[in-house]
């Protein structure tokens, strides 16, 4: 957890925050660009309509640090335009949208390629004049950063060719950002589902030897099934299982927890989750709330059971709940006993507590 300096985002973040964050906060239900109003039209963006900016938090990255890049798309035209979401990171990275070179040579794209059907209305992202959207993506799971060297990263939505026929619709290009990256072994994402490519993939980092990626994969699917079970429970009869971990059975409380687990499920099912096994602390695991969806698992994780109390599967749920974009939980209490006490002493905190979510999901011993 070393912190080094570099703060080059200041000037444009200020602009983005003032222009669009505040606007978005005023109408939190409104999802940028989605659900077009009936009858309202937007033309297809043409070259020059949408400005693309890339930023990186630092210009030098150690091997254990993720290659996170923030993409900001701003409509600089005078009217509303629409973009193919496939050309943006709206739903995660599904295409080769970046041109990455190391010391002048192309770095391989190892991510997914989709064969896209003819786009329908919901495949477009709409941006009003002046509107910006930002996405932070981890390129380490899809591009080959195994070489140590000077990298140049540029956004180029025409870098892929699997949507022949649509390539002219909305070309998006940015200037390049330059950064020095210490080489790290590329870990191919583990595909999920039976011979189907889904939007969800797990990748691992430094998971070898006594910390095998295969164990992480099993933990991940265990976390998914615990999450699915939790979602089902929350849509059924609410009983002791809820009240033990989250307090009074009121519609507002149930709704809060239901939305937390819906977000956890969505993240496990649709996001590029990275489990990093390099930590050797005595703790179970940790995350940075603002850096979805990278989960660092530590020593206690490896000695934990796969399911049940304080298990591998449950630990992943605990960590997933922390991300600001998931359920934004905190750590108010650790352990079953302290979490049960929290429910009676301060149940609002119980509903904001990561371990409480974990124990609810693990449901051991099982409660009705």
């Amino acid at each position: 957890m070393s912190f080094s300096s570099g703060g080059r985002l200041n000037w444009w973040m200020g602009a983005v925050v003032s222009v669009s964050l505040l606007g978005a906060c005023g109408a939190p239900e409104e999802r940028a660009g989605e659900v077009p109003t009936e009858g309202e039209s937007a033309r297809d963006a043409v070259a020059g309509d949408v400005a693309v900016k890339l930023s990186v938090p630092r210009s030098s990255l150690a091997a254990r640090e993720s290659v996170s890049v923030t993409v900001t798309l701003t409509n600089v035209a005078k009217d509303t335009v629409r973009l193919l979401k496939w050309h943006t990171p709206t739903d995660g990275l599904k295409e080769d949208l970046f041109a990455v070179t190391v010391d002048g040579a192309k770095a391989e794209y190892n991510g997914r390629h989709y064969k896209w059907a003819t786009p329908v209305t919901t495949d477009f992202l709409r941006l009003a004049a002046g509107e910006s959207v930002s996405y932070t993506v981890d390129l380490g799971t899809i591009y080959d950063f195994s070489k140590t060297g000077s990298y140049s990263i540029r956004y180029d939505s025409d870098g892929h060719h699997s949507d022949v026929g649509h390539e002219g619709i909305s070309q998006l290009r940015s200037d390049s950002v330059e950064l020095f990256i210490e080489g790290r072994e590329f870990q191919a994402p583990v595909a999920w589902g039976n011979d189907t490519v889904t939007a969800q993939a797990l990748s691992t980092s430094s998971c070898t030897g006594s910390r095998p990626a295969s164990t992480v994969s099993t933990a991940f699917s265990t976390a998914q099934s615990m999450t699915n079970n939790s979602v089902s429970y929350l849509n059924g009869t609410i009983g002791q299982r809820f009240t033990t971990w989250f307090g009074p059975n009121t519609s507002s409380n149930v709704s809060t927890i239901r939305s937390h687990f819906a977000a956890i499920k969505s993240a496990f099912d649709t996001r590029n989750v990275i489990v990093d096994c390099a930590c050797s602390d005595s703790a179970y695991a940790y995350v940075y709330k603002n850096q979805p969806y990278r989960i660092y698992v530590c020593n206690a994780f490896w000695s934990a059971p796969m399911s049940g109390t304080d298990s591998k599967g449950g630990t992943l749920i605990h960590e997933m709940s922390h991300f600001t974009v998931v359920a934004d939980t905190d750590d108010h209490a650790y352990g079953q006993s302290a979490c049960r006490s929290l429910t009676s002493s301060n149940s609002a905190r119980a509903r904001d507590n990561a371990d409480s979510h974990e124990y609810f999901a693990e449901n051991t011993p099982a409660l009705p």
Binding site: S4, L9, S20, L21, C25, R31, A285, N290, V325
Partner: protein, 189 residues
Amino acid sequence: MTTRGHVGRIALLTLAITGSGCATRKEETAPPADARTQEEAAVAKTLECTLTGPAQVKAGEPVELVFKLTNPTKEPLYVLKWHTPLEGIRNDIFLVSRDGAASALPYGGPMMKRAPPTASSYATLAPGESVEGTVDVAPAYGLQEPGTYRITFQGPLMDVTSDQAKVPALAGEYHDVALKCPEVVVTVT
């Protein structure tokens, strides 16, 4: 890293756009008065805390705070270091606000799920003794931009006892103790 705050805002921005809500810090209701044992009440009354830091630093420099706990009682006290600067910054342990804003700055540091504590998870304070921990709050709370920041240690101390037999706490039998620690005001220029 010094861009945590920005990363936070990016996350916040994404959050706002995806319609999940805007607040990064949930509103918390005040904890209701609970029945503490006499021992805990005595401990709570007696542990003293100070938090000190530089009045002014240049943007980009570390903002190092010294957190100091003192045991003025006649008995040794055992304090679980979790969620205190005695173990560094491993969770969201401070409330930091800028230029009088009501809302706290987003926290960009780690959130760590703990294994059960061991004896070494505790600091031992002999009668009259102090322990201190120094942390740089700038990276985790994004104190890079010029402004005046108010920094408060959130507390509580997660487990405090004067009984060595209760170290480490077993089966989650923690006795948490609220701690009043005066806030620090730091101006970043």
